[in-house]
Point group: C2
């Protein structure tokens, strides 16, 4: 049958629809009190009797008995899957391990949501598990770290690392609900508290000048109070609000130029070097400082503003390092981000404190100069022991 | 800090939005003619210069040189990834292998869509790859089998098998475009042609009485013509149209009672038994016949209609088998489907030819009786050699 005869066989069908996305981010405490139904209600209020619960192993140390008791008291058959957090476990292997746990503990497709209790690694990975299982079952995020609270757990991005690429696999998949309880920070190790401060600082520099001032005045007190005091509550609320204001109108990254990517251009290369042992927020802080230097070199940021940013980082005692800052590697990370941003750099840089712009022409020389400046500054001002 | 003090710390943010879904299903032929841009245009018309193309290895035998020439003539740097189809390769291992191929051949996130050329296994798996990579990059489906054309490639369901569960992992992820070219069937093995007829028959029994009559009158001629004649074109068009009419209003399976699940209740247990060596459509046909018997047992289907269905299956020489029909196993499959349908069976059964209802109370006895009836009928009417 020749192509000539086929010219009549033409037809086109168009599929045009929308998928609704709906979830609440709710501040609640005493989540494991037997009378608190926040963890159990489902969207149609008719939750099933089983729950697959992935819990950070450190959280299990502190809250394991309370969690077990909670489900027992509510007649829920719960399977607690312990998860050792850490970037190296944000892996295909652990993704498959959680899926195998789920396979061994059947749940209904709609009214028995998977529950993730832990930091960003746990909620990111479990979100991907939930979005993959039966093409998507509901999940509830309970962030227990500051990083999760203000960033990782409140949006729709799920993911795992692949072949040393940060979050290379994943999905845009909304949780059914996010439960925020800042009392978890009472048992959060100091380093992980500072890790989350990095993301708060990100928003402060490019979007929230008042938050920046608050951090200058009260940041240290909040850290010392493990973010349990009323000023911390204000900081947390402003941070979540500010993050959501960026996320919600662009939930699926239709727009690739995103201010929340500030500090997320060079950081991936740093994070994925196992020997550097950097947490996500720590890598973001270093990236932000390099980006600020580039902004200053381009006269987007004044020298006083640059100094103010560096001073705040110092005063908050955020963990810095000069390790692994090879300009070639940082450029590779930028090129990779360029693929991710569809062929254009779209790097957010601060324009003064509280404002930003996007640039598309950062070159090796910019990066090299920024690294030199940063290393010299570190040598003069920063002592690895935090003193 | 006690819970009493925390009562003031209450706040809720609501996220309410919609994710637009838009794609076209386009009938085109001569897809690999250098002047045909159907494979290359992207949604914004500014396609990049690279394409990652996953091709069924049998298609490569017939069209490999044409495909290579096509991309070369259009100055596209294409990486052809050969894929051996077959249910056993719809696996985590092959999913990861394709992802590794993609990792070695970087593409832009938006304007260099992944292209899947093959049957349902290829388009299902590649769809899941595309939806996972960077949380979703575009992909184009080019079904080369009848099954893909009328069913697997035109919707938004992607998937791979996991732990002997059919399509346990996957996503709802719309292709950027589907290109339908029925001239591929010219080289499609007879068995795979019949495999697709199974899904066409499904729609005919429960939704399209005219299509059922057409199959009775012309089905054999169409099969003999490898679906290249004008009657086949009508059958293909009606089938795609009928399928889309079900899919589009319920693209993400908000409604769990789906008539297109007819024949997909017991079939998964049959398909996943490697030793039975059943194709998807073959398992679906057996499931449909068992379901029709149950419908007849319940007086939903008259004996003449039941006979008409069995006669058509016989006359089309669809491949049948009495192997693996253990009632216990079929019930397990039903229970599994019940989890998938959120705790309720929701099994579609025909009510006469062209209509359907859902039932929720099929028990072991129904299944056992249906298997006995089916095996006896097979013994009296069907000869494994197709005579």
């Amino acid at each position: 049958m020749g192509p000539g005869i086929l010219t009549g066989f033409q037809k086109t069908w168009q599929v045009r629809t929308e998928r609704p996305v709906s979830y609440d981010i709710v501040c609640r405490h005493d989540l494991f009190h037997p009378d608190n139904d926040a963890l159990l209600v489902t969207q149609d209020n008719r939750g099933g009797s089983r729950r697959f619960v992935v819990v950070d192993s450190q959280i299990l140390v502190h809250y394991g008995a309370a969690i077990e008791n909670y489900f027992k008291a509510n007649n829920i058959d719960a399977c607690l899957h312990s998860f050792d957090a850490g970037e190296s476990n944000k892996s295909v292997e652990q993704y498959l391990a959680v899926l195998e746990g789920l396979d061994a503990f059947p749940i209904n497709r709609r009214n028995e949501p998977i529950i993730a209790i832990g930091g960003g690694v746990v909620t990111d990975l479990v979100g991907f598990v939930a979005s993959s299982w039966r093409r998507g079952v509901p999940h509830i995020n309970v962030p227990t770290t500051l990083m999760g609270y203000v960033d990782a757990a409140i949006g729709v991005k799920t993911g795992i690392n692949f072949k040393h690429h940060k979050n290379r696999l994943g999905s845009f998949s909304a949780p059914e609900r996010v439960l925020l309880d800042h009392t978890f920070f009472q048992t959060l190790p100091h380093r992980h508290l500072l890790n989350g401060v990095g993301e708060i600082l990100k928003l402060a520099i490019v979007k929230e000048p008042e938050l920046f001032s608050t951090l200058e005045r009260h940041g240290n007190d909040c850290i010392n109070a493990q973010f349990q005091d009323s000023t911390s509550w204000e900081i947390l609320s402003v941070s979540v609000e500010s993050m959501l204001a960026e996320l919600i109108p662009n939930l699926f990254e239709t727009e690739l130029a995103r201010v929340v990517d500030f500090g997320h251009t060079f950081s991936t290369a740093l994070e994925m070097q196992d020997d550097l042992d950097l947490l996500h927020g720590e890598a973001v802080v270093i990236d932000m400082l390099l980006s600020c230097i580039i902004a200053w070199q381009r006269s987007l940021l004044s020298r006083p503003d640059l100094d103010r940013i560096f001073s705040l980082v110092l005063s908050l005692k955020l963990r810095l390092s000069s390790q692994g800052l090879h300009p070639d590697l940082l450029m590779q990370s930028l090129i990779e981000r360029q693929h991710h941003r569809n062929g254009v750099q779209r790097v957010p840089l601060p324009m003064g404190i509280g404002s930003y712009c996007f640039v598309a022409n950062i070159g090796l020389n910019d990066v090299t100069q920024a690294v030199i400046f940063f290393k010299e500054w570190l040598q003069d001002n920063y002592h690895e022991d935090g003193s």
